[in-house]
Symmetry: D3
Subunit: 138 residues, 6 copies
Amino acid sequence: MGPGKGIEPLNEKGDISLIIEKMDTTLVNDFNAYRERMNETILDADNLVLKRLFNLDTRTYEEGALSSRTKEMLGLVASMVLRCDDCIKYHLGKCYEQGLSKAEVYEIFAVANIVGGTIVIPHTRRAAEYWEALSAEK
Amino acid sequence: MGPGKGIEPLNEKGDISLIIEKMDTTLVNDFNAYRERMNETILDADNLVLKRLFNLDTRTYEEGALSSRTKEMLGLVASMVLRCDDCIKYHLGKCYEQGLSKAEVYEIFAVANIVGGTIVIPHTRRAAEYWEALSAEK
Amino acid sequence: MGPGKGIEPLNEKGDISLIIEKMDTTLVNDFNAYRERMNETILDADNLVLKRLFNLDTRTYEEGALSSRTKEMLGLVASMVLRCDDCIKYHLGKCYEQGLSKAEVYEIFAVANIVGGTIVIPHTRRAAEYWEALSAEK
Amino acid sequence: MGPGKGIEPLNEKGDISLIIEKMDTTLVNDFNAYRERMNETILDADNLVLKRLFNLDTRTYEEGALSSRTKEMLGLVASMVLRCDDCIKYHLGKCYEQGLSKAEVYEIFAVANIVGGTIVIPHTRRAAEYWEALSAEK
Amino acid sequence: MGPGKGIEPLNEKGDISLIIEKMDTTLVNDFNAYRERMNETILDADNLVLKRLFNLDTRTYEEGALSSRTKEMLGLVASMVLRCDDCIKYHLGKCYEQGLSKAEVYEIFAVANIVGGTIVIPHTRRAAEYWEALSAEK
Amino acid sequence: MGPGKGIEPLNEKGDISLIIEKMDTTLVNDFNAYRERMNETILDADNLVLKRLFNLDTRTYEEGALSSRTKEMLGLVASMVLRCDDCIKYHLGKCYEQGLSKAEVYEIFAVANIVGGTIVIPHTRRAAEYWEALSAEK
């Protein structure tokens, strides 16, 4: 969030939507910043197995017999049924980059909730919030 | 939380207990507010499967061969062993509405901790805190 | 299964139902026999923590603020959402002893499947089979 | 397996491959037969929630914003990370019907093993065996 | 089991212990044979991610800041709380090779049961049986 | 955090490292304070099963056939694969007290990530942060 933004005159969107937009951006930025900072801390520890696993993780979602787009959907549904909020955020970000529509994302949510049950609902709430945050970004 | 409460003179309970009561109310209110707001976001997306699952979820705990009271206890213990804090809060609220005593609630905690092991303890801590918050409400 | 039973003349129930009854009895007996035999092996190893945990496990389901009947239902639903077939069999046996009706048991199945999702279905299949086996016993 | 098959003369495939084919068919048939039989037992119990959940489960994988093909892949990866062998078999059967190639199926296995870790390997072994069984069927 | 063994004269151990020993050996051999056969099937599919993960898995337990002995104990307790029977068998085999005593193995069982709860007990039964099988081998 | 520290002149470490140190201390202190306070709330409820389980939990990690040091490592890896942040913090604190080196702790992280998969990574991030916090304490 840029300095002084809080005292800028209201733009054409009006103040409420501006505040929501900033909150959303914060949700995405905070997640990415913490993730990057701590990944660095982990890699700095120079454990061979962890470094290779991180590497292998990146390779897993590369274009292959299945497209990256499909693989990111697989990563998202797997993260949801395993109820890992940070993994969900990460793959939601990737699905957003891949251009998935809201209807497509919600069908992934549906599969996850049917397979994993109502304990997935609280994670779906946070996923829905994060998806709004991603969509609010320019 | 009523308007202006922060500047009222101390009531007969004294200030500390007043502050605790407000904190507790906040815990319950914040949970319910976020839950309702995001449930709306999810339902607004108009995914048929999710809407029906939400509906079915409500029906599951209705009076039947087993009472709603018993079913809420089942929902609570299931949420605890699956270690879903928000699900625990939701069913604790329902158990409180059903008039469960503290001794009864702690026997559900006991079953959950024996079946699910000591990894359930951190969730039991938050459950115990939430139960106090529910009990502190008028 | 007693010696020579296979060549006995058909009783009034007819042969098919007799065979099913034997199969069912075998399912229940095999589970109980293996369970008892290996529990003994474990207790013979004389590990203090395991012995106390086994003891505590028994105490957990004793009459208290909640009845044993209710606690066995809690044990069953917890076992189902955690998808532990042997735990399910054990608590189904106890629920049967407590006189639960089929309708009541299926409402517990319903809570487990809604909370835990469709991955609980395969365990529900085996639970349904075991319940039939228990009911087929005299 | 039809009567008398064991004494038929060897066909052009030779006896070993014939035996393997029969074993494979048995694996698929046994799974489907048990699944269908016990699903009937469950539905006969006439529990409204379970019947609607079974119904909703079928709807979840129907053509929508995402294709049935994609949804079956989502169902498979979710089943793998949740380590539910019967769910894996079911979705593998569906993926086979949808015409997925072996390379595609193994990329789903790869995502599941990276997300869910080496505890998914034993389930991947059984999944690989079942895929061979499906492929051996005519 | 070799042909005709059943009619050999009793050796000095007596028949009962001989039969138990054979059963135990079968338990260990069957597990290892299936594991090796299906690992080959998986590796033959030539999926890069899976091949590297298998490789990385082996490296993880190699001598490092912690000894292989300690790491196999870590692998065992992790497999137990995650309730993966095949993973438990594999690491029990490795712990046996590393010369762990029965008392040590049971203390690992104790940690797993306290952390993971009584749902770990059925897996502990099968682990206890497998440990006896390993110990019965020459 | 000592009284008045906020207004002390900068020591030789410089202000940034001082702030980081305080943040770290807060992370450890907050965790321990909440844990102790809520454990008291739970024990005050006077549920026999929970009290005995808490007791048994302490005993589990006492010196035996395996050292406390080894058992704390087992507790840590079990907590990681079960993805329980508070359990991880608790056992990290104990491992720190037992004098484990950073290289040793990261090899435990490696086992947990290989066995439990990339969904353990977000918990490893928080574990890495907590380990830094423990190391920053005097």
